[in-house]
């Protein structure tokens, strides 16, 4: 294909325009309940123009909602990394550990966040009002953990024997072997896992908020569905997508830094 000036900007805009066009056609013809692009914009304007406004518990600027969601994701994600990375190292280092826990990990891994959430709520029932928050955190951590666990394990197994031999010749202590050789050698794999985990954490937050009714983009989406304001569903979807995209890009940048190092 021929390249032209600004094709990196123009072509994606063409793609967006095609989808918006399809959307407009659909809402005008067979899907009468689907709000048109213009109507969506009209209705979403207060949420976008004043992104940090707070008019009520479930009536806030869209970036304010996003912020709530991001805070919760950050907590759950941090928990996933803190728990997942050591498990990954154990899996990579010990064959016995792998044999013991790999089957159960493979069984738990494909379980949907929607299935974990009720269990999370039950687990933290004792905390009363905060059960929703803790349940959501639990769900995010459990679901987002697996890519980190598995990628770290693969990375540890892939550490070249040469590097380990260097450590053995130098008689490095176990701790130094871990910090000076194993962790740096595994870092690129770990970051791939971290990036995938972040993607999942962001997926899970929406589901968790919808079910718990917490203020956030997901909670807002579900509330507006119940309130019959369908325009805001679309607004939420767009915001969720954009935020996920930005998060992934940020992690890619980080990952690239560590890969080259």
């Amino acid at each position: 294909m021929k390249k032209f000036k600004l094709d990196w900007l123009v072509l994606p805009l063409v793609g967006v325009a095609v989808i918006v066009g399809l959307w407009a056609v659909c809402s005008a013809t067979w899907a009468k309940d689907l709000p048109s692009p213009a109507k969506t914009w009209e209705s979403s304007k207060p949420y976008i123009v004043e992104p940090f406004a707070k008019r009520g518990e479930m009536d806030q600027g869209i970036l304010r909602f996003t912020w709530y969601s991001l805070v919760l994701v950050a907590q759950g994600y941090a928990l996933a990394l803190i728990v997942g990375t050591p498990i990954g190292f154990c899996l990579g280092l010990s064959k016995a550990f792998t044999k013991t826990f790999d089957p159960i990990i493979q069984i738990l891994r494909p379980v949907s966040p929607l299935a974990w959430l009720p269990l999370g709520l039950v687990l933290f029932l004792g905390t009363g009002k905060e059960a929703g928050t803790y349940g959501a955190l639990f769900t995010i951590a459990v679901c987002a953990m697996w890519p980190t666990v598995l990628n770290t394990a693969v990375g540890v197994r892939a550490v070249p024997q040469d590097y380990l031999n260097v450590g053995r010749v130098l008689k490095l202590s176990r701790w130094k072997m871990l910090t000076k050789i194993l962790i740096p050698a595994t870092l690129p794999y770990m970051f791939t896992g971290f990036r995938l985990s972040l993607g999942i954490a962001w997926l899970v937050i929406v589901a968790a908020e919808m079910l718990t009714g917490r203020p956030g983009v997901g909670g807002f989406l579900w509330q507006e569905y119940n309130a019959l304001i369908y325009e805001h569903i679309i607004l939420s979807i767009i915001v969720i997508g954009l935020v996920g995209f930005v998060l992934d890009r940020l992690m890619s940048l980080l990952e690239a830094r560590f890969k080259s190092a």
Binding site: D162, Y163, N165, V166, R168, V169, L170, K171, L172, K176, K180, I181, P184, A185, L187, A261
Partner: protein
């Protein structure tokens, strides 16, 4: 008592033995080259001396004590350099120095590292990462790291085989200079007879594997320092070279002689593509193919 001694060492990895009945005795300060074909178990031999692997039979002794594991008293220069890619030249060497001389004050440590970087002429590359260096430079870092550990024995596992001829000769000179200055005991593993003749006090051929063992050692009586260009015309050099090469070739000749088998070659003519394709011939059945017997013998 020899300084480094291998007696009756054998090693297998589940299949036929890679090494069997290896006996080797080195005096302190000796430079020995072990020459052999690739795949004959040279790296296994170095790993056994380094303690990275344990012999199935026999013992490896250093200074009278049995080698039970790897340790910094035996500095290894690995074939593929084995530098840690996330550490700079300085940090790679400092990691070793920190480990071997933990009680040295920081300033002395730094001076120690700098000294060995300077010894292999890498001062300008001090803060570069391995991937920013050429193969020869990486190998020099690897040599500097091994030397900075101040090992009692230096184990060189084909340290120069991956390098181009020019870099190789520069590094050969450097190895000889460093050995001359430090008088370490050195075991050099190589597949280059000329390199062995240039550097070693003694050359020991390794018979081809599987089941490789050490042959009779050839003392290199050439006077030091040895000049690469002058050596080529030295009759003693030529004699030794022929001796070692013949020994190595002799092993393979001996092995070939044991292979006698009958091959049956089918008598198949190439198809005539020019022939008209009117009548299609039925392909020959196996018993219809004429066979010629060929006997392979030494």
């Amino acid at each position: 008592m020899p300084f480094l001694e291998l007696s009756g060492v054998g090693k297998a990895f589940g299949g036929p033995p890679v090494l069997r009945d290896v006996n080797l005795a080195l005096e302190r300060g000796e430079f020995v080259a072990i020459v052999g074909y690739s795949g004959s178990g040279k790296t296994t031999l170095i790993s056994l001396i380094a303690g990275l692997q344990h012999p199935d039979t026999g013992t490896v002794r250093l200074d009278g004590r049995i080698v039970a594991g790897p340790g910094p008293d035996r500095g290894v220069v690995f074939q593929n350099y084995s530098l840690l890619p996330w550490l700079t030249v300085y940090e790679n060497i400092a990691l070793a120095v920190d480990q071997v001389f933990p009680d040295l004050p920081p300033a002395a440590k730094q001076a120690h590292v700098e000294k060995y970087i300077a010894m292999v002429n890498l001062a300008p590359a001090r803060d570069k990462l391995p991937r920013q260096l050429s193969g020869g430079m990486r190998q020099r870092v690897s040599v500097a790291r091994a030397l900075a550990m101040d090992p009692q024995v230096l184990l060189l596992d084909e340290p120069l085989s991956a390098l181009d001829a020019l870099t190789r000769s520069t590094l050969q000179d450097e190895i000889e200079r460093i050995w001359g200055a430090d008088k370490k005991t050195v075991v050099l593993i190589t597949n280059d007879v000329d390199e062995a003749l240039l550097l070693a006090d003694r050359i020991i051929p390794l018979t081809p594997g599987p089941g490789a063992t050490l042959g009779e050692s050839v003392p290199v009586t050439l006077a030091r320092p040895r000049d690469r260009r002058a050596l080529n015309h030295d009759p003693e050099f030529k004699r030794l070279r022929a001796l070692v090469t013949n020994q190595l070739l002799g092993y393979t000749a001996g092995r070939r002689a044991t292979v006698t088998r009958k091959l049956t070659l089918p008598d198949i003519l190439p198809e005539d593509l020019e022939a008209p394709r009117t009548s299609r011939r039925r392909p020959l059945r196996p018993q219809e193919i004429k066979k010629t017997e060929v006997i392979l013998s030494p």
